[in-house]
């Protein structure tokens, strides 16, 4: 469940980052396009301004040429040379006049926008008198020449007196025109520089926004994405490590299971071989003894196989349960009755006698739990078996059960908060199995209830096991709505206390199924404590 929510959260983060990334990229694209538009506009305006300035400056040149041509017409000494001055004056006046109009009203053919500022319009208005004076003067000169009789050529000296006043008019107005035109050029220049400055501000603004966008991408997209990728890589590495660990544990499990199976199988087979060799010769008691040994070995094989197969069957699945109210005291008693002292290494081979061990059971008869009988028996068998296996012969073992004080009590635990819905809210009973054996090193406690896990000392040691017993206990206890944990200092002799909780069976559940139980139960096979 937590894994699923984790995946959903990862997907949400990925979606959010992807959205931010697309938004940021779109912003950059828009800003880049805007920047290009601004640059193109800027180039177009600068080009237009340059054209206007050039043409405006040309007006001064034309006005000077008009003055020169007019003067040349009246002061020229060679009559034949005056003709070109008249043509020049005519051409210059025409161009000068049209350009002046184009500057004020615009002319697409010349690339003049004609949208002047009020300041420029005002300046044009100021030079209008001088412009008109010069234009009138030049026009009069050309009219006078054009209207002269054919015998009086344009260059005839007789016409000159009539032209002089117009020339003087032109010359007198030209300085004002030039000054005014220079003012217009300066204004054009000033306005063009202003436009360039404004565009530069816009361009810098766009650049700043792009930079800000990049910074936001780095902060809101790249950094979280990098962290997310880093986390994903770390998760992958951890998953790989877990895989490797699990593979190593599985390998060790196969070795252990192999080892565990071979010995009882050999004992079983050898007993049958002995029976076969004995034929009818053996005494009935001897035959019975061998048969019992074969059966015991067969039981060991079956138990081990069942445990292995249970583990495989439960991989990723919840065990099937048939919970019912169970009297704990009688259940513990029946479990203890199944233990054979020889099987748990308590036999003295030379004498054939068993060293008894004190097993105290403190369970009040009223205690009833809601559990699956077979699964609870499995858990108890495993914990009691471990207590016997991992503690020295003769050391005491204690089994107790009492109402659990709180849901969070006890020492180090597994499966906290995994109570099933069906049982959450019910009172819990805590069952504990205490031994005085080698204990569990504290650093190995956290992984003790994982699959295939065996203590390091046991892998290299002589205590047999496959590393699935406690894992099965955890799976089964949690499936029944309880938790399991171990408390141990890891100091040899101080032993361990394995505890688990189960829901208490309510009075309604017990109903008529309740059965009487003894106040204190002891195991006949193991000498009870006084």
């Amino acid at each position: 469940m937590s894994s699923m929510s984790g995946q959903l959260s990862e997907r949400a983060v990925t979606r959010r980052l992807t959205g931010r990334y697309i938004l940021a990229l779109a912003t950059i694209v828009v800003l880049t396009v805007l920047g290009q538009i601004v640059v193109q506009l800027s180039l177009a305006e600068q080009s237009s301004d340059a054209r206007v300035l050039n043409i405006a400056a040309l007006q001064n040149t034309l006005s000077e040429r008009m003055c020169k041509a007019a003067l040349a017409i009246i002061v020229g000494t060679e009559e034949d040379a005056r003709g070109p001055y008249v043509r020049e004056l005519r051409d210059d006046v025409a161009q000068w006049q049209s350009t002046q109009i184009a500057l004020q009203r615009g002319d697409p053919s010349l690339g003049l926008p004609g949208q002047n500022s009020p300041q420029v319009d005002h300046l044009f208005a100021q030079i209008a008198p001088s412009f008109n004076t010069m234009l009138d003067g030049a026009t009069q000169i050309l009219i006078t020449i054009d209207n002269a009789p054919p015998v009086q050529l344009p260059t005839t000296p007789a016409l000159i007196p009539a032209l002089v006043p117009q020339v003087q008019l032109i010359l007198s107005a030209e300085p004002d025109f030039v000054v005014g035109m220079n003012a217009i050029i300066a204004q054009y220049q000033h306005e063009a520089e202003g436009r360039v400055a404004r565009l530069q501000i816009v361009e810098w603004g766009l650049l700043a926004v792009v930079l800000l966008d990049v910074i936001l991408i780095a902060l809101l997209v790249l950094r979280p994405a990098t962290r997310s990728v880093g986390r994903s890589i770390a998760d992958l590495v951890r998953a790989q490590e877990r895989e490797r660990e699990l593979a190593a544990l599985k390998d060790q499990f196969i070795i252990d299971a192999n080892h565990e199976l071979r010995t009882p199988i050999m004992a079983l087979y050898n007993n049958l071989e002995v029976m076969d060799a004995l034929g009818q010769r053996g005494a009935p008691e001897q035959r019975e003894r061998i048969l019992q040994r074969a059966l015991t070995s067969g039981d060991a094989v079956i138990r081990l196989l069942t445990r292995v197969l249970d583990t495989a069957a439960l991989e990723g699945k919840a065990p099937r349960l048939e919970p019912q109210p169970l009297a704990l005291a009688s259940m513990v008693q029946s479990v203890l009755e199944t233990f054979d002292p020889r099987e748990i290494g308590e036999a003295s081979l030379q004498t054939g006698s068993s060293e008894s061990r004190a097993v105290t059971v403190h369970i009040v008869p009223e205690l009833r739990v809601l559990a699956d009988e077979g699964r609870l028996r499995q858990v108890l068998t495993n914990l009691v078996g471990n207590a016997l296996k991992y503690s020295a012969p003769g050391t005491p073992i204690g089994i107790s059960a009492f109402p659990h004080a709180s849901a969070e009590g006890g020492g180090r635990r597994r499966g906290r908060g995994r109570q099933s819905d069906a049982t959450s809210g019910a009172e819990q009973i805590q069952i504990s199995v205490r031994d005085h054996g080698l204990g569990v090193p504290p650093r190995e406690i956290p992984k003790l209830f994982n699959r295939f896990v065996r203590l390091e000392r046991d892998i290299a040691g002589t205590v047999r096991g496959t590393g699935v017993g406690l894992y099965m206990c955890r799976v089964l206890v949690e499936a029944m709505g309880g938790r399991i944990w171990v408390e141990s200092s890891g100091v040899p002799g101080e032993g361990s206390t394995f505890s688990f909780t189960l829901p208490e069976a309510s009075a309604e559940m017990i109903g008529e199924a309740a059965s009487p139980a003894s106040a204190s139960v002891t195991a006949p096979a193991l000498r009870p404590a006084p």
Binding site: I255, N258, H259, E260, R262, T263, P264, I265, M266, A267, L268, Y269, N270, N271, E273, V274, A277, L278, I290, R293, A294, T296, S297, A300, R342, E343, G345, A347, L349, Q350, G461, T462
Partner: protein
């Protein structure tokens, strides 16, 4: 090697910490092989029995509390007086390196559980028949062999 009297059956010391297996193999060696069997449940008591009972052959498990099987074999092979004792390692450890380790300690044979009584009886018989020269030659051959030959 202990001198053998003509009437006395061969004596086998069986050392294994699994009581169920021990009981079955004791009966098997006695009934099928006709051996006299003494047994011990760990390496240390096995050594005690060895010096007390002076067996003609030792069958020893590997994983045992205290002195393990390999240590047991090395203890016998390392002593001039007991170096020629016929020894069979009987183990549930089936990996190649375990078998090689068992043979390198000086055992005459490495049998992996489960073993039929008849096979164990034959192995004990062969080990008892090994001469000191043959044992020495086998040890030299084993030491000279390459790992792949061990597998073969």
């Amino acid at each position: 090697m202990h001198p053998q009297g003509g009437a006395r059956p061969r004596r086998v010391l069986l050392v294994d910490d699994d009581s169920a297996l021990l009981a079955a193999v004791i009966d098997g060696l006695e009934l099928v092989g006709g051996f006299e069997v003494v047994a011990a449940s760990d390496g240390a008591s096995g050594l005690e029995h060895f010096f007390v009972d002076q067996p003609d052959c030792v069958v020893v498990d590997v994983r045992m509390p205290g002195l393990n099987g390999y240590q047991f074999v090395r203890a016998l092979r390392g002593d001039r007086e007991t170096a020629q004792t016929p020894i069979i390692v009987l183990s549930a450890l089936v990996q190649d390196h375990e078998q090689v380790a068992g043979l390198l300690t000086g055992a005459d044979a490495y049998l992996t559980k489960p073993v039929k009584i008849a096979d164990l009886v034959r192995a004990v018989g062969r080990a008892i028949e090994l001469t000191a020269a043959e044992r020495q030659r086998r040890a030299v051959n084993l030491a000279d062999a390459q790992p792949e030959e061990w597998d073969a």
